[in-house]
C-alpha cells in the first residue's frame, strides 16, 4: 500500500513539474528525488575534461539567448562595460589617480589578463575582483569595492571584455599547486543537506537532465554574466553561492580563500576554452 502511494506521489510530482506555478517548489522536489538516486553513487572521474570534450553552457542555450550574448546591441551587460570604461578613467583617492594613470589604455594593458586569473601574486591567491580591490586599496588608497556592487562588476566586466575570445590560460605551477589541489578537493567533496559534490552533477552527469534543465559541465568561461535569473550582472562567486544553495550547503563567503581555490580549479579545468565575457545565462 505504501509502495502504491509512493509511486502515485512520484508520478504526480513529475507531472505537476511541467506546469509548476509556485517558484522553486517542483524543482526542489525533483532535486530531492534525484538525490535519493545519487546517494549510492560516488564520483570516479578525475574531474579532468579533455579539451575536445569541453563544452560551454553557451551551447545549451536557446538561439534567442545566444543572440543576446553575441550582439552588443542586445546584451544588457554592455551597460556595465560602459560604466567600467568610465570608472577606468576616473581619478580618485588621496593621490588623485585613475586605473588609467598606471595601466594606460585597457585595450592594450588588460588584453589577456582575465584569462590568467585566479593567480598567485606575492604569495597570495588572487581572483580578478580581489586584484582590482588590491590595486584600489594599496595604490589608489581607496576602500575596497563590495562584491556584487555596481562598480566592482563594472570594472570586472570592462577588464574581462578585453580578453573576449582568448583561451583561458590558467596553468598548474609550482606556486599554485597547493591551492589548485585544495580547489579540486572542494569540487569533489560532498556538501550540503543534499550531500552532493560538484563533480557528481557537473562531471558524472553533465549532459543529462535534472528537473527539465540540461546539466552543464559548469565552466566559468563567460564571467561576469548577465544571469536572467538575477535580472542583473553578477560574478562567478555569486553563481557558485547559488550552486551551494542548490544543494543546501553553507555558502562560501565572498572573497574567501575557499572561493578563490574553487575558482582557480574551475578555471584550470576550463583551460583552453575561449573567454565569452560578458556572457548571458538563464
Amino acid at each position: 500500500m505504501v509502495m502504491m502511494v509512493t509511486q502515485l506521489f512520484i508520478k504526480h510530482v513529475l507531472q505537476f513539474h511541467k506546469s509548476s506555478v509556485r517558484k522553486g517548489t517542483s524543482f526542489h522536489l525533483a532535486i530531492f528525488c534525484c538525490s535519493i538516486l545519487f546517494a549510492a553513487s560516488t564520483s570516479t572521474a578525475a574531474s579532468e575534461v579533455a579539451i575536445n570534450k569541453k563544452q560551454s553552457s553557451y551551447e545549451l542555450m536557446t538561439s534567442e539567448n545566444k543572440a543576446m550574448q553575441d550582439d552588443p546591441s542586445l546584451n544588457p551587460a554592455m551597460f556595465w562595460v560602459a560604466e567600467g570604461e568610465s570608472l577606468w578613467q576616473t581619478k580618485s583617492g588621496p593621490k588623485n589617480i585613475a586605473c588609467a594613470s598606471c595601466h594606460g589604455e585597457a585595450k592594450k594593458s588588460m588584453r589577456g589578463v582575465a584569462t590568467q586569473f585566479p593567480k598567485m601574486i606575492k604569495g597570495k591567491l588572487q581572483t580578478l575582483e580581489g586584484q582590482i580591490n588590491q590595486c584600489r586599496s594599496t595604490t589608489q588608497g581607496e576602500p575596497a569595492l563590495a562584491y556584487e556592487s555596481k562598480e566592482l562588476l563594472a570594472l570586472t566586466a570592462y577588464i574581462a571584455i578585453q580578453s573576449k575570445g582568448m583561451p583561458i590560460a590558467v596553468k598548474e605551477t609550482p606556486a599554485n599547486q597547493g591551492q589548485l589541489k585544495k580547489g579540486q578537493q572542494w569540487f569533489q567533496e560532498r556538501m550540503g543537506q543534499l550531500n552532493l559534490s560538484c563533480a557528481q552533477c557537473h562531471e558524472d552527469r553533465a549532459g543529462l537532465k535534472l528537473g527539465g534543465s540540461l546539466i552543464p559541465q559548469g565552466h566559468p568561461n563567460a564571467y561576469p554574466i548577465y544571469r536572467l535569473e538575477w535580472q542583473t550582472l553578477g560574478s562567478v562567486q555569486r553563481r557558485l553561492r547559488n550552486c551551494m544553495s542548490g544543494v543546501r550547503a553553507q555558502q562560501f563567503e565572498y572573497g574567501s580563500p575557499e572561493m578563490a581555490q574553487l575558482e582557480l580549479f574551475l578555471m584550470w579545468r576550463a583551460r583552453g576554452m575561449p573567454l565569452e565575457a560578458p556572457g548571458v545565462r538563464p
Binding site: 502515485l8 511541467k18 506555478v21 517542483s26 534567442e64 546539466i215 536572467l228 542548490g246 543546501r248
Partner: protein
C-alpha cells in the same frame, strides 16, 4: 477493468484504495495549482474587452512569436508582426500585448503611424508561468485583429532562493 468479486471484505478494500487515490490527487492538485491561475485568464479576457469595447476581433494578419520553450521567464524575446500595407489609408494604429498567466494582463502597448514602415515590433517580456500570450491589433479603419502564441516556461537551476 476485470474485477473479480471476491466477497464483501475485498470489495470494501478496493473502493477504499480508489478513494485514497482521488484524495491524494485532490490534495496534490490543491497544493500545486491554486485557483489564482484561473483568475488570470479572466483578467486577460477583461483587459481585451476593455481594448475592443466588445467589438468583433478577427483572426489572422497578426503573428506573435515567442520561443515555445523558455529557460527562464524573466526575459523572453517577443515579436509581433502584422500584415499591413502601412500606408496613410491603411495602417496599424495600436498593438496591445496581453498575457493570460501574469499577475497583470497588459504587458505593453505600441502606437504606430503611417511613418512606421512596418508593423514589426520586438521586445523582451516577463512571463510568470507557462501560458498563452495575445496580440490584439487595432487598424486605422477601426477593425480589430488578433494572434497568439503559447509557451512553456521552465525554471533556472540552483537559484538564490532555498
Amino acid at each position: 477493468m476485470n474485477m473479480k468479486f471476491d466477497g464483501p471484505q475485498k470489495m470494501h478494500r478496493r473502493t477504499w484504495m480508489q478513494q485514497l487515490q482521488k484524495l491524494t490527487l485532490l490534495a496534490l492538485g490543491a497544493y500545486f495549482m491554486p485557483s489564482i491561475a484561473l483568475a488570470k485568464k479572466e483578467d486577460a479576457d477583461e483587459a481585451i474587452k476593455q481594448i475592443t469595447d466588445g467589438a468583433k476581433i478577427q483572426e489572422g494578419r497578426v503573428t506573435l512569436t515567442i520561443p515555445p520553450l523558455v529557460e527562464n521567464g524573466n526575459l523572453v524575446v517577443l515579436k509581433v508582426s502584422v500584415d499591413s500595407p502601412m500606408t496613410a489609408a491603411d495602417y496599424v494604429k495600436v498593438i496591445h500585448v496581453i498575457a493570460e498567466g501574469n499577475p497583470l494582463p497588459n504587458i505593453f502597448t505600441a502606437y504606430l503611424t503611417p511613418r512606421s514602415g512596418t508593423a514589426n515590433i520586438t521586445t523582451r517580456v516577463r512571463l510568470a508561468d507557462s501560458q498563452r500570450v495575445w496580440a490584439i491589433v487595432q487598424m486605422s479603419n477601426g477593425s480589430f485583429w488578433q494572434g497568439s502564441a503559447e509557451t512553456l516556461v521552465t525554471l533556472s537551476a540552483c537559484t538564490e532562493m532555498v
